[in-house]
Symmetry: D4
Subunit: 249 residues, 8 copies
């Protein structure tokens, strides 16, 4: 139902050619479609300020550049994740665009959001860096102050304990680990803030491409842990950013 | 190293019988144990105000009642989860104790915490009630205003949409679902707050005791979702409570 | 938004105290909730004639009898699946109610629907009988003429071929099998109608409680096969009934 | 038993050199092979009008072109699925042949079938396009009017609701989704027609190449859902076409 | 097509009221059903001498006793496997019936078959005895001389080697093992006859109810091994008996 | 213990410098090693006539050619399985050597063994050809008359039934199938000889690289089935050949 | 070959009725069986001092008491694991026998072995106690000084660090953990001795009865870890005891 | 807290400007970080003599060469595992560096450690060589005398028994096997020393990239077995070396 049709109905009602019962019937018969049309802008508004995201994996270069151009016209900032080299190359000389080769994240940002403190991204090993970096860049772009700590696997617990004070500063922690994923429980036990756990596919054999740390994290003995999909640095950062901005308008 | 030993060392240093280098060496040689002794209270203090929890499953009645008596002396409120009927019966006439037979949660509470708004617990079907109720009771005990919405499975989407306005009020949502767990993605798409997803073991056959909705939730196309273990209403509520209290001292 | 509020708005508009722009704004701001209120009856109407179903597993006797009484007032016929003996006993002397102990299906039926032909339920072995019977009873209650063929496992292919002519009469076939589930592909190859496949949990060892025939059926080399969950005779019958009534108003 | 042998037997019987008992014995001793010879044409006839299909995956270019030439002589239309570029190139300039690079479907069609209304193919995301397109092309070739709706993932439920009216027009819906596959339950809840669900391999990590949405769909809380193999757009379209043509001669 | 109808057709042909073409058409149109009717006896004849089997698991006492009575009238010997105590009790005082409580096998045998040599059943541990015994009893009933060797697990290889000579006497060996199932490969390496491997559910933890030895046996480095389902002593014995009787009429 | 040492011991005993007790002690102390030395030739002799096999997968070209030269000196015939193109090329112009590119089997054969009848290799689809061909070539090389039947998937049961008579001629059948693997149960139900089932990795999605037909075959309702590893045409042929030669010296 | 036969052969050789070549042939033809007879005592001797073990699970009371009586005559000490209450009751008043109800271990010990230092058994939570206790009792019975540390889960790392000094004293550590099993990596990082990891079945949901900590431990980032089966406290203690006694005669 | 700060505190206390209570408070408030600083050297010292290891998989050439240069300055010997050709080439002409192409292990060794006897590495097949070699090189570099035995798969048990005497010499055995992994149980049964089992990914089909032998080894009926991750030759050698050096200072 377009606005004009609605105006017509209301006019008819006002003029008496349509009685109240009939108008109500028409409005209540108004199927989902029109309702959705009305609300789309409303919803979009609600979510204003959140960067949109293009999941570039499985997309052609053209699909990505088309989506890029479309979003550029609608939004001051947005993200592209899991970009291929070809996709990155096609966009690399664009204004306001930057590509990070480690995390394969592309960022379009006309002007950065102010950074609210404080999310800590902590990664078990250097091999987890792509996921750590994805989380870091996404969280920063969404307006969070981010500190990244890397290479603090639990087999050398003193390395992690060295960051004990720093960890207390976080509103939310993103803990990234492959192998056995034990970092999550230890970190969660050291802090009182929520921890978002990200298992990575770094490992081999019975690691099952990340299933081992995923199960480990889901079964954490620390209660302040929730988990996202394997290698999902983006999702962890998005969730952490929402948490860090709780209570804001 | 007990406090007295430390006082002795410092005294010796002050009196000159122990030179600075030697004292520093003693302190740095101080192994983890003493360090831990020092910090235990510190850590406990940090986490003050959080209710402790006894996971009663796999415990004998005596183990539970002993733990109960011990915690009662230390704490004004604490929780017992997954209690058996026998365990509940053994505690049921105690002061300040209440047992909920649906969720099998026991609560010891001398005086309730003030309730901060607002966590919404939303459950797909009535069979998910035990997990929903566990989340609700844990969140309330931890000082959160909680609203519970039940029986809004996605196969009748209008039932869920009826709560659209209500959902916008939440700081964090706990979404509980068995079967295919699709409720989580739909709810997460309707709100801008973080969603903690709890798969339940309600289902049969290829449900695999909750693995189906667990995988579903981990692969949600909504980015504001993180997941806890199957049937872990407690963990979801704990995490949600931390999120709801972010920024408090 | 209740009807009265809407009437008031329209009245205000008619009387000129609310201009058209404002009224449209109010209507488009009308959140999902009101929309849902409007549409619930509409949706219920759409689905009129379909029996509602209570999944009795995991429910208490009281929950089941309460649901029974509620549905009885709304509907001329409905089904209860996976009933326990206790649940069945609690309802067993009710008017219009019948319980089948093999399939654990309960049927409330004030007057049967006319039977449209023709659904064939075919089961590999006698151990699959509970699922076969569930499918049969559900399909019949939903207004289908049903023929049931049992004990035609593929290891004795002549037993199945003996029903070749009969199978051609079906508009849709429900094929139920445990063990290796091979019945589905053979049946589907003999007919040109759609086949709904139901794996059962009948088997042992590497059968994995029905996963073996489930995978078998999903990988059928026959293209006219789609699959429902393990032991889900109800779902297969529901789907088959919809197919059998395609094109009806 | 070739026809001539049979004629001979009947002649002998007619002339009296073979008595009735002996003839019947010979006929009943006639093993499966002859029986099959008799019935092959019969069966082929029964299935007349159904396009045959070559599953080109795992086949050499020559195997595919040979099969193509053979089918071309027998049939006015047939399909090739999962074609490689090399296979497509080898056939690309043939008369009546068209290749779709997205779905990797090849169609040989001398004259299209009349289109019976109405199958809707609905896909959750643009990455599911290859499977969506496969379903669309197969359904069209089999004589169905097809409408395709894409990019209506449940995390933005308003996008799906916008098609509420359209969905009511379908006789059968093919719902295609990767990630968590939740689209299926929501769609199935909005309509009263049967839904054929197709999980796709679009996802990562705990998605397990499509196992996550497969399990999700098998456990759908909507009863009007049945499921085909991961990425099996062809099978879904075949099944949907049969359903759409139920009752035809 | 019943015999009388066929006689009628042939008579009509003989009398000239039905010409040869028409008769042949009628015969070739004769659908599968009639064909199957003709051949059922033929097939049953082919398999004569093989004992029939009732898989008693999941059957009621009545279903078992009914099947027993029916088979007793058709056959001089048959087997019942996986009997419950109740089922066994119901049959226990019957003539020609014996029940073995370890393997839960029931045997109806009016007169034993002559025993052909030689099947060896070898079991890794005493806990595998139920499966070993099932294989032994089934093989004996099917007319094989059987030697059983038990408790020769590979962790004490000398116990197995002590039977080296004996093993050479077998035409076929049934190797039964739980735990890691390594017995199969060692035994298969010591002999030149075929080995039928039976994994058992004896184990715990990562044994996964028999999946561990099942995978072990399927991956045996010995080429003279084939495998049956977990705990399927019956199937192994049936297969071994066929092998032992190869070449017999 | 080398022969000379043993001769020396016996000589000492004969001459009286070593008494009987001491000699027996020495002999019984003779550790496993010497024992093994003695028996190696014995064992090799036992297995004489069986072609040795080189599993070429995971081996370098040099490892394969070295093994080839070594075996050539010891044996009149042997097999190489899963050869790469490079390995095949390195051996291709050798005398008595032939390579089959479909199955990737290489055969060194100075003079063929006489063929004993009769093994039938039956394959569900043309995509299973590599495994079917491996089984065929291995069985032939081991001295069996082999008949191969291909493309008789159960979805067109008449194609399989056409071979009913032929199937009765086999002493043992090798049934090869990917997809849902249902061919095995149907074939096994048509014959009374043992069937060796080979699941193949031909399929996609929930096929899980052959796990679907593997489980299907392990759970066959036909008792005359045993199973080998996925794609293990070699093992099936080896087992079948042993069965076909049972009773020979 | 019994000793007498061997004496006879040697006598014949000595007397000249059997020449050396013939005797050697007879000895080398001596099949595995005799060899095994010779060596059984030798092997048993080698392993002297190790307590034998009866795995009581899946055994009847009689089987257990019989095995008990037999071992009692051969050995001064032995263990029974996973005893049922009935089994324990049947032995409970025997001399030298003790039963531990937590671990379900029974110990027959006429005189304890001297204790060599030092094995530490460390358990994550009180629910892991049965497995911890099994390891402790088995290790003690095998002659090791054992220290047990319990309830030091990694979510409260200070509890574990409090034992830092104590941990350094161990020659080998047995680390027992359910839930996510992270204790293992942290402990292994704190020490330089080998760690034997035991996952337990303590957990729920995605814990999969111990698979989660099992995978976690197999993927530990600490290199000084090896793993035994879920709940296998016995095996861990046995392995640890061997390690602790390395180099002893 | 740097040393200077600590000296300052102690000085203040000595001079009386800081009383004892205050100093103790400062020391006990000293958070984990400083503590860790103190202990890092201590821990490093503890582990002195152990070669550090770079897991080169998933690292860039630069990351590897950087780590190499850094470690070279700190350590006389270290290992690189799972090197790519590019990584090896970048280091290949360095002094004290050697690369083994089979195991992909790189060794930097200024001067070898003295070799303590005796670790035996035993591998089932030649395809397991990369893992066997990794274990061998790591163990040697860590100061162990190593004997390697290869190609002693259990299907030819005499090959393994030939090493019976040799096996008795080991303090610890590393048993490496793919396929069904049965070698481990047989070897463990022949010796009284601990066995570290390494499953390999050598196999196909239901081998599941090493899961089959992994499960096999975890379920070994021999109690002197513990297991490391699939293909983890390094971890097995590290663990074995620790065991072999037990009791050393």
């Amino acid at each position: 139902m377009h606005k004009k049709e609605l105006e017509k109905l209301l006019e008819d009602h006002k003029s008496g050619t349509l009685d109240t019962e009939q108008l109500i019937k028409q409005l209540t018969d108004m199927p989902f479609k029109q309702f959705a049309d009305f609300h789309m802008d409303h919803l979009r508004e609600l979510k204003k300020g959140f960067p949109e995201v293009i999941w570039a994996q499985n997309k052609t270069v053209k699909q990505v550049t088309d989506a890029y151009e479309e979003l550029k016209n609608k939004s001051k900032r947005f993200l592209l994740t899991r970009m291929t080299d070809e996709q990155a190359e096609a966009l690399n000389n664009k204004t306001h665009f930057a590509f990070d080769a480690i995390s394969r994240v592309g960022i379009y940002e006309e002007e950065p959001l102010p950074k609210k403190g404080h999310i800590i991204v902590i990664g078990a090993g250097t091999s987890d860096m792509p996921v750590v970096k994805e989380a870091e860049l996404v969280a920063e772009t969404m307006g969070n102050k981010v500190t990244t700590i890397i290479d603090v696997g639990v087999a050398g617990i003193h390395r992690l304990l060295a960051y004990y004070d720093k960890l207390q500063e976080a509103n939310v922690i993103i803990a990234v680990a492959g192998m056995e994923g034990a970092l999550v429980s230890v970190v969660a036990g050291l802090v009182k803030c929520p921890v978002i756990a990200v298992p990575t596919s770094v490992g081999y054999g019975s690691h099952l491409q990340g299933i081992a740390p995923l199960l480990s994290m889901l079964n954490s003995c620390a209660p302040n842990v929730s988990v996202v999909n394997i290698d999902n640095g983006f999702g962890a950062a998005y969730q952490a950013s929402l948490i860090n901005h709780i209570g804001e308008e």
